[in-house]
Amino acid sequence: MAIGDLLIDVQQVAKHYGEGETRVDALREVNLQVHAGEVIALLGPSGSGKTTLLNIIGCIVAPSTGRVELDGEPVFDGHWLRGDLRKLRLDKIGFIFQAHNLLPFLTAEENVSVVLDLAGQSQAVGKARARELLDYLEVGHRAPVKPSHLSGGEAQRVAIARALANRPRIILADEPTAALDSKRAQLVMDLLRKLAAEQEACIVTVTHDEKIFDRFDRLIHLRDGRLEDAGA
């Protein structure tokens, strides 16, 4: 596969929580590059820093030191380089939540189109895009349903649709298949692979799910906040 644009460039990033006696080093001098079209898995025991790394890439948590570039744009260098991180997230990053993190008062369709609404798109565009994604993810027939009436798998696919709504180039997922059976989990991963290829996006997924390991281009192991890169 031809190597695409460098979308995620994490350089010498460290993150610690607390100080002195209570100091926890969640990440120590991590370097990670992810290119367009790549689908990678973050693996590691609980507490090894997977979520922290994902949150740093998603501009939700500030690193203690280091540099972060997203889609060619420097966003962190000792401090945030942009004031409007939420706009950055809206434009470039899609989060796939653990299931049931949809807004309960919106229908499946609205949960997807709200992202486009926030991005300033017209209602018609938002609706059309939401329909298209939901159909693509085979939950189109559930569009007018509120999340509380969706099954775990359906809710997860709606969450994926929302993450993709604004065509982000960086898709971050924290255990996206935890709520799914193994057949559905593999279907979801196949789908993400396809999307990454089609939209020239990259996907970083935290997972424990050995059944889907073969769906990744790279498996990255974290241990005590350090990376141990291991190709697939």
């Binding site: 994902l54 939540f97 653990q98 807004l103 709200v114 992202v115 924290d174």
Partner: protein
């Protein structure tokens, strides 16, 4: 996409219930404001009813409402002859208890000279008193209707007409009778000791006395000048209409007014706290959803709009429900509940301010919430 409305529709039943609860609270607040206004209006009604400009009372008293006053009935002739007096009338007031339809009824008996000042200001049914004896015009709130008879003292009176909004500051509805009947009634129900004295042959001091003489002036007459003239008669004193109104508010209803006023203040504070609490809790319950919104890139404007709009819709509905309910039930109160449009407007203003302050507290928390909490990791 209006998130505030979508969220309300999602939990509509609960939201409506909250609005309704708030509406009931607003009903109580508005009722209290109305009772307060009604108390003041009722107290003044009795002073305002005769549309007098001058009150002639017993020297050294602030009668006839704040203090007892008793002056000879013929004072009216003397007053009528003064220059500058256009109209006058002698008037008596007494409270007595009688029975109507088997129930005790407290009445405020007003005696006036038919054809002169002091009678019922307007009739809503029946006619005015025509004969000099045993006819009465009663306030609507007595429950009497024209044709009814009622015992006052030893005699039965026939109700010939109805008026409204005539009562004393205690809320006892008024019944108007002729001055002659009222004076007779006054002597009848005078204290026993006085009756004993009367039996011995002494003239009872109250015989043929009235409480006050009221007067209306010629257009060019000066109230103060006429009052000064009257005060030269050593046994008389004179008060202007505004003196009389101020006196009544300051002495007779002041404590009741302060009582209700203070209670109203407490009620308003409680309502403010309740509204603030509801809105704050509403926001706190949504913190996780707000974190989700931040995560998917919603600007502060969107989050602010969600909270403020819901707060205002809640406050507005509560106010509307409260106003509707009070307007529906206010006439069933035993005493007057008087609401001015201004009162409702001021309450609306207070609610808006409380809602905004309460949303401010919620917004502070909402803006601080970490988008990472939405990830649940």
């Amino acid at each position: 996409m209006n998130l505030a409305l979508k969220d309300i529709r999602h939990s509509l039943f609960r939201f409506v219930l909250t609005c309704f609860g708030l509406g009931l609270l607003m009903t109580v607040v508005l009722a209290m404001i109305g009772i307060y206004n009604g108390l003041v209006a009722d107290a003044l009604a009795i002073v305002k009813a005769p549309e007098a400009e001058l009150w002639v009372v017993e020297a050294g008293t602030q009668g006839p409402f704040a203090e007892a006053s008793s002056i000879p009935a013929d004072t009216r002739d003397a007053v009528a002859r003064l220059p500058g007096i256009a109209a006058s009338g002698a008037i008596t007031y007494q409270t007595l208890e009688t029975e109507s339809a088997g129930k005790a009824l407290r009445l405020y008996v007003i005696g006036y000279e038919t054809g002169r000042l002091g009678g019922p200001s307007h009739l809503i049914a029946g006619r005015e008193i025509g004969t000099s004896h045993f006819e009465a015009v009663a306030d609507r709130k007595t429950g009497l209707v024209p044709g009814d008879t009622i015992r006052l003292g030893r005699d039965r009176f026939t109700v010939v007409g109805l008026t409204e909004e005539a009562m004393n500051s205690g809320g006892d509805p008024a019944i108007f009778v002729t001055l002659a009947d009222a004076i007779a009634l006054q002597t009848e129900i005078a204290p026993a000791a006085e009756r004993v004295r009367a039996a011995r042959g002494a003239t009872p001091p109250s015989a043929n006395n009235v409480a006050a003489v009221i007067a209306r002036l010629e257009p060019d007459a000066d109230v103060e000048l006429v009052a000064a003239t009257i005060r030269q008669w050593k046994h008389l004193s004179a008060l202007s209409q505004s003196d009389q109104e101020n006196l009544l508010l300051a002495s007779v209803v002041d404590r009741a007014r302060r009582q209700i006023g203070l209670f109203l203040g407490i009620l308003l504070s409680v309502s403010a706290v309740v509204i603030a609490l509801i809105i704050y809790t509403m926001t706190m319950e949504k913190l996780k959803q707000i974190a989700t919104l931040k995560l998917i890139g919603a600007p502060d404007r969107t989050i602010l709009g969600l909270i403020v709009q819901q707060a205002l819709i809640l406050g507005g509905s509560g106010w509307g429900i409260g106003l509707t309910l009070i307007l529906l039930v206010k006439d069933n109160f035993p005493r007057r509940v008087l609401l001015e449009p201004m009162n409702a407007a001021v309450l609306a203003g207070i609610i808006v301010v409380v809602c905004l302050v309460a949303s401010g507290l919620g917004i502070r928390a909402a803006l601080k919430v970490d988008p990472a909490t939405a990830l649940g990791g």
